[in-house]
């Protein structure tokens, strides 16, 4: 809201960050682990006085220089460029909080560059001891870069006591700092070992090749084994909500975890096979390529999980993914979002600008994660099952129902405008409040609020010629109909529902089956019936009804349905009918 949005509808920013970040993560971790691998392998070659291995290390260094210095260095700058473009508010907050951490990291970057240049260009031209020292300086500086960036990245997931004291060191040495540092260090050593594997297979000297394959294999295996408890420590240091997301409450993480498990298994299996079996066979490049892909899969899944675990925040419990500060939510809900936003043209919602205001709300609150007609998290597909009324209800409790979604921030008119844009604007649905035709809720509200004075049978003929809109308008100014009648101060959605009910008294065809409304309000945001039908078509009504009592048991990502038993019965009835009748 504070910044403009880079709006490319089909290509969301999240995907761009993920692409650049994943590439940089591989290269930067490789730069750290590879630094240690180089000096250790050089030491081995010097110790054994093996010129083949020394040549191997030198060639390795050249590739290392070209990959880490150019590609690694510039993709690091690229991440900075991309996040300031996609998450300017969060980038600003991070930079203002950790500027001196970043500045120190720049110093280590400079030391790294100088050390790596000297290490490469003086290979074989400097005395061994000094050359090794330069190598150690390179590794030390690279690892310190990891140390510093690790603190800032983990701050985003677990700000810890910084939330209350705003102290640099509290934010830096946050609850996941140490486990993450260990995990990342092992990961970086593992990547270097896997890369050593791949390049060692190109060694012509057979003896040296065998030695380096075994050497790299041990690197990869030991690091891999050590990374598992570090990963476990990391997960156990997460706050409850993030841990439950990691535990399966986030569909994104569930997929990443599967990738990680398969990658880990494949990696371990191939590495062990290659060490234990005759290394001659390890020259088969297919195996070494599998190792690289599996290692990247493992690491990529970890990064994906870490990113997803802090949702709906970009900085946990501080700033939501859309750049809105958690502390501002209550105030903005009172004052209105548009009034507080800088980069909007519609400062308040009117009947004329509803769709346009809705579009601006979408841009500032949803586009950070959703594309429009794109291939990543497409909002049009995600909302296609929802009616205008259902969307309003969904937006009202979006964060409560699905923790990883940020809450809608703004006043009621703005919420309606967003709902209108998402349904009428994007999905060309009618702007009629389906909830209004819901006989069940409208009836209940009528009984609670009106029936004390008005019997249905008395009212029915009075509104016989009234359109639904007329009834709805009347509910906004009841005292003008009859000064004795008090104003009905209720949310617009409730008034819509009563209007729908009263209208249906004389137009019975317009009343919707209760189960249908309940389904639209509670299930359709995530499940279209066309997707659900094949799953439940073989289920009995009892089975469906029982499942509705404990939805989270079916899938941890699904919140339990909190409605009454009667509502669950109605839902089960509706679902059975939709699925093709009672089995």
């Amino acid at each position: 809201m504070n910044y403009p949005i880079w709006y490319v509808p089909t290509f969301g920013g999240g995907l761009l960050i993920a692409l650049v970040a994943i590439v940089h993560v591989f290269v930067s971790h490789f730069a750290v682990g590879g630094g240690l691998y180089l000096v250790m392998a050089e030491r081995k070659a010097l110790h054994e006085q093996n010129s083949s291995i020394l040549d191997f290390v030198k060639k390795h260094t050249k590739f290392f220089l070209l990959l880490t210095m150019v590609f690694g260095g510039l993709t690091g700058v690229a991440i900075w460029f991309v996040i300031s473009l996609i998450h300017p508010a969060a980038t600003s907050l991070l930079i203002h909080t950790f500027v001196f951490g970043w500045a120190a990291e720049w110093v280590f970057f400079l030391v790294e560059i100088v050390a790596l240049f000297i290490y490469f260009y003086t290979f074989g031209r400097m005395d061994d001891r000094t050359h090794q020292t330069i190598g150690w300086i390179y590794f030390g500086a690279a690892w310190m870069s990891l140390f510093l960036i690790n603190g800032i990245i983990d701050f985003m997931l677990t700000p810890g006591s910084w939330l209350t004291n705003h102290d640099f060191w509290s934010g830096f040495f946050n609850p996941t700092f140490w486990p993450s540092l260990f995990f990342r260090s092992f990961m970086s050593f593992m990547l270097a070992g896997c890369y050593g594997f791949l390049t060692a297979t190109f060694l012509d000297d057979e003896q040296a090749r065998h030695k380096m394959i075994r050497y790299s294999g041990r690197w990869a295996l030991v690091s891999l084994v050590l990374s598992v408890p570090a990963g476990w420590w990391y997960i156990s240091a997460l706050p409850d909500k993030a841990r439950s997301l990691v535990g399966g409450a986030s569909p994104t993480i569930a997929r990443a975890a599967t990738v990680a498990a398969f990658s880990l298994a494949a990696l371990a299996a191939v590495v062990i096979t290659m060490i234990l079996l005759n290394p001659k066979k390890a020259r088969t490049r297919v195996l070494t390529v599998i190792v690289m892909i599996a290692a990247m899969g493992y690491m990529g899944a970890f990064e994906w999980t870490r990113e997803a675990a802090r949702r709906p925040y970009v900085i946990n419990e501080v700033m939501y993914s859309n750049g809105i500060l958690q502390k501002d939510v209550e105030r903005i809900n009172q004052e209105g979002f548009l009034k507080n936003a800088k980069w909007v043209q519609n400062k308040e919602v009117t009947q004329v600008n509803q769709l346009e205001a809705g579009r601006e709300l979408f841009l500032h609150q949803c586009f950070a994660c959703h594309t429009v007609g794109g291939f990543n998290n497409d909002i049009v597909v995600r909302t296609k099952n929802m009616s205008y009324g259902a969307m309003q209800k969904y937006l009202a409790t979006i964060h409560e129902k699905r923790y990883f979604m940020p809450p809608f921030v703004g006043n009621e008119a703005e919420m309606k405008a967003l709902a209108a844009y998402l349904t009428a604007g994007l999905n060309k649905k009618p702007l009629t409040d389906d909830a209004a035709t819901a006989g069940d809720r409208g009836k209940k509200l009528f009984e609670d609020n009106c029936a004390a004075c008005h019997g249905v049978e008395v009212l029915k003929p009075e509104v016989a010629d009234w359109s639904k809109e007329k009834i709805r308008t009347a509910l906004d100014k009841l005292p003008t109909l009859n000064p004795a009648m008090p104003d009905y101060n209720a949310p617009a959605a409730d008034k819509d529902a009563i209007a729908g009910y009263l209208h249906s008294l004389n137009n019975p065809g317009t009343a919707k089956e209760p189960g249908a409304t309940l389904f639209e309000d509670n299930c359709a945001p995530c499940h279209g019936f066309d997707v659900l039908r094949p799953k439940v078509s073989s289920w009995s009504k009892t089975k469906i009804r029982t499942a509705l009592d404990k939805l989270s048991a079916l899938n941890p990502a699904m919140p339990d349905y909190t409605g009454s038993a009667t509502e669950k019965d109605a839902l089960a009835d509706y679902m059975v009918k939709q699925a093709g009748g009672e089995k």
């Binding site: 949005i5 709006y7 700058v77 473009l85 300017p88 600003s92 930079i95 500027v99 400079l110």
Partner: protein, 355 residues
């Protein structure tokens, strides 16, 4: 729409703004020196192809070897001032960055291409023969394109009036081409950079390449020629740039602000001095005059930014919440880093001549 209403709220500073200003003004010229050396090296290496003698060819090869180092240090030394600009002016910079997102991101693939091409040019210099000329020319053009993208962002971030275009073009495809200062400013930067780059070639030839007398002499001569002619041209381009500035900004340098007027006077005096040193081919004197000149120009550039931002933003008014220990940690790291770098460089004198 009032453009001022679009300016995001600046975040709280972690130290007094003066610290960041000091660090910005300290590190930005370092980036300029590296960037100038990089561009001058690429240009001279290219120009060498146009002269068929042997020493020119060898000079071109030596410069090809130096080019990847210079790209690396230009990038690294660019990170620090960009970080401090982010701290002081981030809210303005991010806004203009979003407006030109596509071009801003293009900086990365352009730089990666230029960087790899520079290595390719270095490692394959002999095999490339005369076609190396095209390789280094492409490197030069790509790097100058990056400069153009930066000039766009740096001018757009200080002109919020141009931001309203976002409402009709939100896809990150905007540049600041309508700004009357843009082209003059860019050419001013490039002319100055290539001139100082020429001086770098002269220094590099007279020191690192001194073992080969013919190459050293050619490098020194070509470098100083570039330096002198481009500095002379800069007098015109610089004046043009000054005249394109909005009147109220220009007047800061014409007596309205004593410090800025003093800076301009110092700049002119230093420029005249460098021209004389250049004509006399005095490398050391030219260097001693150019280093302060680049700092003076950086301060003037900062003044221009402040002049533009006067109606919208005052960096001295941004609230700060000071914590000293991270600042001290950084300075200690910086000192230790410099000590380690100096130690590593000192080891170079012990390397064996041949591998």
């Amino acid at each position: 729409m009032n453009p001022a209403s679009l300016i995001p709220t600046a975040d709280t500073l972690a130290a007094h703004w003066g610290w960041f200003q000091f660090l910005l003004m300290l590190t930005f010229p370092l980036h300029l020196f590296a960037m100038n050396a990089m561009l001058g090296t690429a240009l001279t290496s290219f120009l060498c192809y146009l002269r068929p003698d042997r020493s020119c060819h060898d000079l071109s090869h030596e410069l090809a070897k130096a080019l990847p180092f210079l790209v690396a240090f230009t990038v690294n030394l660019g990170v620090a001032p960009l970080l401090f600009v982010n701290v002081l002016y981030g809210h303005l910079l991010y806004s203009s960055t979003v407006l030109m997102g596509l071009f801003w991101l293009a900086v990365i693939p352009i730089l990666i291409t230029a960087y790899y091409l520079a290595y390719f040019y270095d490692f394959r210099f002999k095999k490339l023969g005369n076609s190396g000329m095209y390789a280094v020319l492409v490197v030069l053009l790509l790097l100058m394109t990056v400069g153009f993208i930066f000039s766009n962002n740096m001018t757009m971030m200080i002109t919020p009036a141009s931001w309203v275009r976002w409402f009709s073009t939100p896809g990150g495809t905007l540049l600041n081409l309508a700004d009357p200062t843009l082209i003059a400013r860019y050419l001013h930067m490039m002319t100055g950079s290539l001139a100082v780059g020429g001086l770098f070639v002269a220094i590099y030839s007279s020191t690192v390449l001194k073992h080969n007398i013919a190459v050293a002499e050619t490098g020194r001569k070509m470098g100083m020629q570039l330096f002198t002619w481009l500095t002379a041209l800069q007098v015109l381009v610089g004046t043009w740039f000054l005249l394109t500035l909005p009147v109220e900004v220009m007047k800061r340098f014409m007596g309205n602000d004593k410090l800025d007027t003093g800076l301009l006077a110092a700049g002119i005096l230093l420029a005249v001095g460098t021209l004389i040193a250049g004509y006399q081919r005095k490398v050391v004197a030219a260097t001693w005059l150019t280093v302060p000149l680049v700092y003076v120009m950086s301060f003037m550039r900062d003044s221009v930014r402040n002049g533009y931002l006067t109606p919208y933003f005052d960096v001295t008014k941004v609230p700060s919440s000071v914590q000293w220990s991270p600042l001290i940690f950084f300075f200690v790291t910086l000192v230790l880093g410099i000590v380690v770098i100096v130690w590593m460089l000192s080891r170079l004198k012990y390397i064996k001549k041949a591998s």
